[in-house]
């Protein structure tokens, strides 16, 4: 399924995946690994924030804006951008938001995913 890099070599960039739908979470993880990164999957916005607070090696956040929670979608990513400016954002969701609503440098990938678009975006940010 997924090819893992041998341990000991340069650590791969870590991508935080926010997705509460299990199958989609798996698909998104595949994209991350296809892009040559490691994936950390969280199911809620709160967990995402906790994770970001707990570690400093997250390079990219790949988030589904439709994940429910107290802080949802665009509000969450705006907050992440605000607190951790260097973290890049790759976003997806059922409905594409207004261009103006997406934080700068953020990339929106529609569903169903175009694998190339997603992996190249992640790869690009992780590099």
């Amino acid at each position: 399924m997924t090819a893992r890099q041998p341990d000991g070599a340069n650590p791969k960039p870590v991508v935080l995946v926010l997705q509460d739908e299990p199958i989609l979470a798996g698909i998104m993880r595949d994209f991350v690994e296809e892009a040559g990164c490691d994936a950390v999957v969280v199911r809620t916005a709160e967990a995402a924030v906790r994770t970001l607070e707990g570690r400093t090696d997250i390079r990219v956040v790949f988030a589904d804006l439709d994940v429910r929670g107290s802080t949802t979608g665009l509000k969450l990513v705006a907050m992440i951008r605000d607190r951790w400016p260097p973290i890049e954002l790759v976003l997806t969701g059922a409905l594409a938001p207004d261009i103006d609503a997406i934080p700068a440098r953020g990339v929106f990938c529609d569903k169903p995913f175009r694998e190339n678009k997603v992996t190249s975006a992640i790869r690009g940010f992780a590099a």
Partner: protein, 907 residues
Amino acid sequence: MNNDLHGLSREELEAEVLRLRAERGERTAHGAEAFSRRDHSPVSDADVLFSAVDKTGLPMILTDPNQDDDPIVFTNRAFLDLTGYGIDEVVGRNCRFLQGPATEPNHVDEIRAALRDNRDLTIEITNHRRDGTPFVNALFIGPVFDGEGRLRYRFGSQIDVTEAHRNRRRLAESEARQRAIFDSASEMAIVVTDTAGKVTDWNVGAERILGWSAEEMRGQTVERIFTPEDRAAGRARQEMALVLDEGHAKDVRWHLRKDGGRFYAVGDMTSLRGLDGTHQGFVKAFSDRTQERNAATKEQADAEFMRSVLASSADCIKVLDLDGGLTFMSEGGQKVMEVSDFNHIKGCPWPSFWQGQGNADALAALATARDGGIGHFQGGADTFLGNAKWWDVQVTPIFGADGRPERILSVSRDITERKTFEERLAASEAHWRDLFERLSEGFIVGEVVRDPAGRVADWRYVDVNSAWGRLVGMASDSVVGRTIREVFPGIEDAWVDEFADVVETGEPVTFVRQVGTLARWYEGRAFPLGSERFAVIFLEVTERMQADARRSGLLEFGERLRSAIGTDAIAMAAAAILGRVLGVGRVGYGTVGSDGESFVVEEDWTAAGFPTLAGRYRMDDYGLYAEDLRQGRTVVIGDVREDPRTAASAVTLEAVYARTLVNVPIVEKCRTVAVLYVNDDRPRSWGEPEVAFIRQIAELTRQAVERRRAEERQDLLNHELSHRLKNTMAMVVSIAHQTLRSVSERGPVEAFEKRIQALASAHDLLLRKDWTAADLRSVCREVLGNAAEARRFTLDGPDVALGPSAALSASLLLHELATNAAKYGSLSGEEGEVEVRWWIDGDAGEPGLVLRWREHGGPPVVAPTRRGFGSRLIRTGLVGTGEVDVTYHTAGLVAAMRAPLVEVQRL
């Protein structure tokens, strides 16, 4: 020299002074010799003079003209008594202090002249006493010379002749008066004789009546004027004797005139008394009544003539004796009184003919006539056949020859018909007034009131009917005489201006207007009555106006609900409309919590000055009627002070301007979920139509809110489904991708993935339009955008909305065409374009959507030998019914397709 001077009279005293003067003159003439011969005592003449002046009982003064201002140097007691002054106030002063306001200036001038000329003067002049009272002073002044002829003193003596003056004046006046009467009485002959009957005085009147002049008659006996018969009978003597006996005698007889003719004299004779009361003669005074006497005779002769005149008059003409007994009734009178034989009623007392009040009136009229006046009354008297009639009666005296009433004339006019007419008129008036009162419409008669500039500023109630009172809610009799502005302070100007116009233009008007202070509406018609007056007939239409307001309120609410507004806006729209239509201060909508206790008001509608009730409450804070609301019963409280449910908490309610309230509970599934409340700060009696209206609005609001909520739920559901659908599609694509990863032939795999993408995009479009429609242009742009840059395709066509099915199939169809164009057609190279055109046509009677895909600028194409899935997709057409033509021109592929518009747009 006689020293006893005080007993002298004035003349004697004056004589004494002259003598003294003469003596002086003698002495002068004789010089010293005379002086010594006289052998006077050392007492000087001056002393004598002074002594004389001093002792006399006559007021006297001596002044010294040789001193400054001729002062009084000597005066006597009598002068002081007369004038009231003290000696110190007099001596040394000029006697002008006796002059005052009543003093005659010309007399003063005379005195001054006499003093200047040193003459004697006697004059009567008005002087004033010390206390100011005036008196007439008979003054004598004279100079006193010394032996050398020099002026030594002035002498003055005064006598108070006020009384004499007064009497003299009175007498003169009386005499003048008498003479005037005597002279001017030309109508009356006045003859004055001495005690023997000889004429001593004869006035103008006597001359006129008798003919002889005063000169001719003076000294003659008065018998000359008596007729020979009377003379023979000794009448004159009889009369005189009667006068002496009784003081006066009537003189009524024929007398003789100078020319021998006779005249009838009426008068009397009295005794002439002197001032001392003694009989000094006789006075005869009489006037000539010959004419009257003749007339009286003539009158009697005319009686027959008069009788015939009277007979023709329809008035009942009667002659009564002084006691009211009937002596004569005219023929006409007998007819109206239905008397068959006058003898039956002759002598009857006339007042007895009259009934009731008439009897008293007749007696009073009779008495008035007896006294010489005219009596008048109206009364009822039956005819002799018993028919009741009504009469207007005039009662006048008939004078005898002596000028006193001797009989009574009574003229009665039959006014029965007029009286009946008056009664009918009164009855008619009563009838109309009754109608006026019975009208159910209000009726006003008004009169305009103008300001000093002449503009109508107000109008006065002249008359109103009972209906007016009912319609306005005031006692009718309380307004007559008052103006409308007095009765309704602050009334709308239109109520004055419009009626003013009616009066000024003379044109009637119809109106519908409110009296704001009463909160009542009236519709009526006003019309002019002439001369500053107008009449108004009107009805109250408050109910109708309120019903109209409610109806338009409902319509407006319906309109507002049609536009898709949120639940909050629905509630506010309802509140605003209720507030306006009902004219209240606050309307709000609060939701009841599931515990049945909490009550939340998000916002409410308020009129200016009313506080909002937004906030959280507990139902039981509202008091005893919370339970009614929980049970789903409408609560109507006209006055919170009066209603037992709120009386205790009235103060708190009124603090938030809730004096009256209506609360309508909204019930869903047997539970009160919300309350619509209506408040105002004035007590109000809520009619059934109004409460029904509030309930209606509350129900419509509930329905609208429900509908909105359902729509919102629907939207939410739709969105939820869309998300799931898209997630599912994403999953499908990924699963396929993973599953087919090991397949070496990538083409089909990619084709599959792309087709799913196209499907997903189409779903996107539909989702944005709430799954109702997708615009064809957007579908084209979306699909083609994925295939090539925008510059390489042209889209041209009207706006056409596609239903969901057509949107999906069109998307896939266009996707296939685009994929082929990108692989083999005009989109495969660097250049080449696609032109997509569509339009509506009306072929075969029903409109259809035609779409044409034309490729050009690309490499030449040929029809494929095998029909892949893509071709099959294309051939299904816009709605799956086919109607597609694909032609492989050398310039490029052209695909044309058609579908009925109805099918294309089906939801």
